[in-house]
Symmetry: C2
Subunit: 326 residues, 2 copies
Amino acid sequence: MRQTRLDTARIRAARQVVDPVFLDTPLYRCEALEPVVGCAVSIKLETANPVRSFKGRGTEIVASRLADGGSRAVVCASAGNLGQALAWSGRGRGLDVTVVASRFATVAKLDRIRALGARLELVDGDHELARERAADIARYEGIRLLEDSLDLESCEGAATIGLELVAGGPSFDTVLIALGGGALATGVGHVVKELAPAIEVVCVQPLGAPALTRSWHQRRVVTTDSTDTIADGVAGRRPIQAVLDDLLVVADDAVLVREASIVTGMRLLLEHAGLVVEPSAALGVAAILEDRDRWAGRHVVTIVCGSNVDADAYRRWVGAAPVPAS
Amino acid sequence: MRQTRLDTARIRAARQVVDPVFLDTPLYRCEALEPVVGCAVSIKLETANPVRSFKGRGTEIVASRLADGGSRAVVCASAGNLGQALAWSGRGRGLDVTVVASRFATVAKLDRIRALGARLELVDGDHELARERAADIARYEGIRLLEDSLDLESCEGAATIGLELVAGGPSFDTVLIALGGGALATGVGHVVKELAPAIEVVCVQPLGAPALTRSWHQRRVVTTDSTDTIADGVAGRRPIQAVLDDLLVVADDAVLVREASIVTGMRLLLEHAGLVVEPSAALGVAAILEDRDRWAGRHVVTIVCGSNVDADAYRRWVGAAPVPAS
């Protein structure tokens, strides 16, 4: 494998500082879903922890290193999950955490960030504006900026999922990974491609937020002017070159899916797996639904990466249409 | 502690034959739920596995011993979760599994039992009639009858949850355990009382299916003529003397809760924890809601023991009333 910015030995070492509540998450076959989607499906469940997403794996590494180095404060931009996780990890280590988010972000996520004791600043724009504002705060206040996907800790945290997927000899063919900023895909992808290279790494992004997928296909950074998706966790417009470079090494494919497929994916996970998931966490199932022939006869793992939803929006999404028969 | 039928060393040994997919389940604080219920709450999540309940822990032990002993077949009565789990564990070991259930059982559970390859026989009556029929089948066919809660494997399986709860020094005050036949309560209770006796063990049963709770309070087996609860997983009428004897040793209290509290518990777990649970798995939250003063200032673990629900019934239950504000 060509080099990425990641190093598996360093990932294994980083894993030691992550609170065990985020590690060794459930990985299990979901046979009830299989007749509906037409292939063998296993779920890697990243929602049964105090922040209901995988982001705690990375923020534990960041917060641990900051605390060890004597830092007192950290700031990040977040669509909501990274901010919650950083607030949780920072609180346990006495760090002052500032989170910058779009005022259009999922309310439940913003509420949890506040409840966890972080300072929350809202910007009147999208996630890219929040990124700019967070960088400004870091500069003005002279504190650490955590940049998701660019900063190695965020990728190393995600990569610990990869270690768990390949532990004990994996029995699956493909891992489907939600693609947003790229930390999850490059982290998991690095470990999988290094330790179990036969496993196909497929990234999935919404058609309404396609910047990094288009960048991967064109092998250069492609930005977009706007995003239009319910998958708030992956709605970036400006991919980071260094992350794209890593993604070009580890991803076998990157596909785009329609909003309707994401909603159906959420509904299928509720009806057949008993899982409440946020839209980003249904991208994998959406990808299966959009190309059933590709996956028929294969065993696919989908990482259910988060479950933070606004109750009303969730009900509107999953309750709107009849449920397909199994 | 007075003796129960269980032995912690034997439980530790039994754990070795359980498929890891059922072990080391998530245990985490759920702070979003805490303002609503008024105490610290942690969740022990037993639903993120191939059968969506804790029952696989026990059926793995049964099926493993049967296969080791050269047996080819086993029968059990089940409200649905034990049957699914036995079907799963038996399939992996080449055992013929027969499950007897009430024709009024949760359809999703019956469908999964069939899908897992077990022979399903329905009786025109409640769970107690299914128990009689399963015993008849075992006698006629000369095969092993698995009697939930009476047979030690079912209690030992549940007891492995107790080992996980006390591992690493527990930080909570009370564990709330759904009470049906008694396997979960006596299994978890045995381990907790032996290894961390300061932790309070509280059993929770629906007012509409109170037989074992009444038996515990009266210190003798009390049966009822009928049950009336949506908590299908715990709706027994005829407690087993040996199980009651163990329960008298390990339980600090046994409480009854109203149906409305169970429904509210299910709704709170959905809204604030993102968890779809079956009614039996909401008994712990229901108990907190019915006696808030008792739990204020305490840290309570509730075992979320299953998530197998009929989608329509679930929507009817949790969608019917407004959600309390947090």
